[in-house]
Amino acid sequence: MVDMSVKIGSVTLQNPIMPASGCFSTDLAQVIDLNRLGALVAKTVSREFRAGNPPPRVSEVEGGMINSIGLPTKGIEYFLSHQVPDYKRFSPPLVGSISATTIEDFEAMARDVSTSAIDVLEVNISCPTRDPKGGNFALHEEHTFNVMRRIRQTTDKPIWCKLSPNAGDVVAIAKSAELAGADALVVSNTILGLKIDINTFRPAIGNKFGGLSGPGIKPIIVRMVYQCAKAVKIPIIGCGGIVKLEDVIEYMLAGASAVMIGYLIFRNPSGIIAIIDGLQEWCAKRGFARVADLTGAMIDEAPRETYAAAAAPIG
């Protein structure tokens, strides 16, 4: 029997498979059993009501999709009074996600949300579509440190910091978040992109820029997970383009302790459950007693000498 549980700091998950924030709600109970998931991850909430960005909010691109939803939310009061109790009908730990435009509001949000039954606080400092120009805290070391520090001083809940792949030096941002006291890193949010409709000559989505997600971005994010895992001691949650079992294993080998799945929920909603079952079978077949043993297990040797490698037998 494979031990499928993983520890993210003080939090134990029954398995390493979680939905990604923004791609999940209890509405998914229409098609899957939510109690099978490693954790439930709520959509990001802000203090006040936000209508979100103008439609169209999504467009297909090769390798996935580009979206600009704009963090619509009914606000923190509704989240605490209605959504948290709704999530708590299910057994996996609840990860609440917050966003704000100032450090002061982030701090206040963290304080207020921490009074609820959430088990983990995800700090979304990296949404690329909230600001029309794609700016956010996670693009800067100093901003990341300052906001995470204030939140660390505000709450005893475990805090996960969601990073941005749009930062110039993601590793430096990861170190800032760790130094500030983050319990784990989510690597990462979507990649800022632009798609133009060649019939209308206009941007394909209503907010012009959007976040790219789906299997097309996976190698980029796997690389970032690997780099961050080498640089920090806190656990890393891989997030980007997972559509099959093999992708989860790859993320874990790169250094992720757990993963989050977004796009696949849109394409094959039953796939997230199939991946949990498949991961257990794969571990059993390969002789891994604990799925956690996959984390960081990539064989990491220096590249071979070119002529020797090119002369080596293939396969």
């Binding site: 709600s25 098609v31 909010r57 999504v58 929920i265 394409r267 094959n268």
Partner: protein, 288 residues
């Protein structure tokens, strides 16, 4: 483990029972064999699939989110929502009638009998009908006709009469004729002979109201016709429903992609077509 208590893979129609899918989960991803797939005219195809038990519980106005094959060398990365055209519970089949307009529907059009179609559903809120009504009016245009068609099934089951006003560019595109004709009157209004003009349709609706044959309004497929029905519905106190469309991603609720504007007591709000609809109150819809 003797069995898996939860469905973890698509239900494959024709390949036995699913792995004890819990009954409290109303929808599912299923692989449905194509029974037939024919062109109805130069733009529309009629698709019939064998459906799973959960899929067969679909109600008129609900939809499925379809994973369409690619029409070209690239891939399709998002599903396409498609309302049901007809529910054939006797033969355990579901039918779609769709217009080929983009990569999704052109991809869907490549399916041949025997191929499998991956469907997620049934999803959303369907049409409501009040059994006390005697006669209802259905007004649709273009692709909206297919969405409205199952109302005739529902009305027929409830013993309610239907007048269907079907608006199209030309006679070739009035397709739901057979289906509506079984339970009521069909009035085709066309661009080709100018009968589809709003004033003409308004005169027909007013006549039906005067004849007490308009206990409720249903519409889909045209903003002009939505506004017309809204205006007459309000003036005469006739309840109504509208089926909406919007670009969609998950089809299940969480992603908030498919929002449309609604208005209640002068206050505008966004609602999701996939889970708050696709059928909404006629008076609350702002634009189709």
């Amino acid at each position: 483990m003797a069995h898996r208590p939860f469905a973890s893979a698509p239900y494959v129609v024709g390949k036995g029972a699913p792995a004890l899918a819990p009954t409290h989960i109303p929808a599912e991803e299923s692989l449905c064999p194509v029974v037939s797939h024919d062109w109805i005219n130069s733009e529309y195809k009629h698709l019939v699939v064998d459906a799973s038990p959960k899929a067969l519980a679909v109600k008129p106005g609900q939809f499925f989110n379809l994973l369409c094959p690619s029409p070209d060398a690239a891939e399709l990365w998002l599903r396409r929502p498609q309302s049901v055209y007809r529910i054939d519970r006797e033969n355990r089949r579901i039918e779609f009638l769709y217009k080929c307009v983009g990569r999704g529907t052109f991809g869907l059009a490549t399916l041949e009998p025997g191929d499998e179609l991956n469907m997620v559903g049934p999803l959303g809120v369907g049409f409501a009908i009040d059994r006390r009504w005697k006669h209802i009016v259905v007004l649709g245009r273009g692709v909206g006709l297919a969405t409205l068609a199952p109302i005739s099934q529902l009305a027929g089951e409830c013993g309610i009469g239907v007048t269907a006003i079907l608006s199209a560019r030309s006679a070739e595109f009035v397709m739901a004729d057979d289906l509506f004709g079984k339970v009521g009157d069909v009035i085709a209004v066309l661009d080709s002979d100018a009968t589809s003009a709003v004033e003409h349709v308004e005169a027909i609706l007013k006549r039906l109201i005067a004849q007490r044959q308009a206990d409720a309004f249903y519409t889909c497929g045209s903003n002009r016709l939505l506004q017309l029905m809204k205006r007459l519905g309000k003036a005469h106190g006739i309840p109504g429903q509208v089926a909406m469309e919007q670009v969609m991603a998950c089809g299940l609720g969480p992603c908030y992609v498919c929002v449309r504007t609604f208005e209640v007591d002068g206050k505008k709000e966004l609602r999701r077509v996939c889970i708050d609809g696709p059928v909404f109150d006629l008076q609350e819809a702002v634009g189709w």
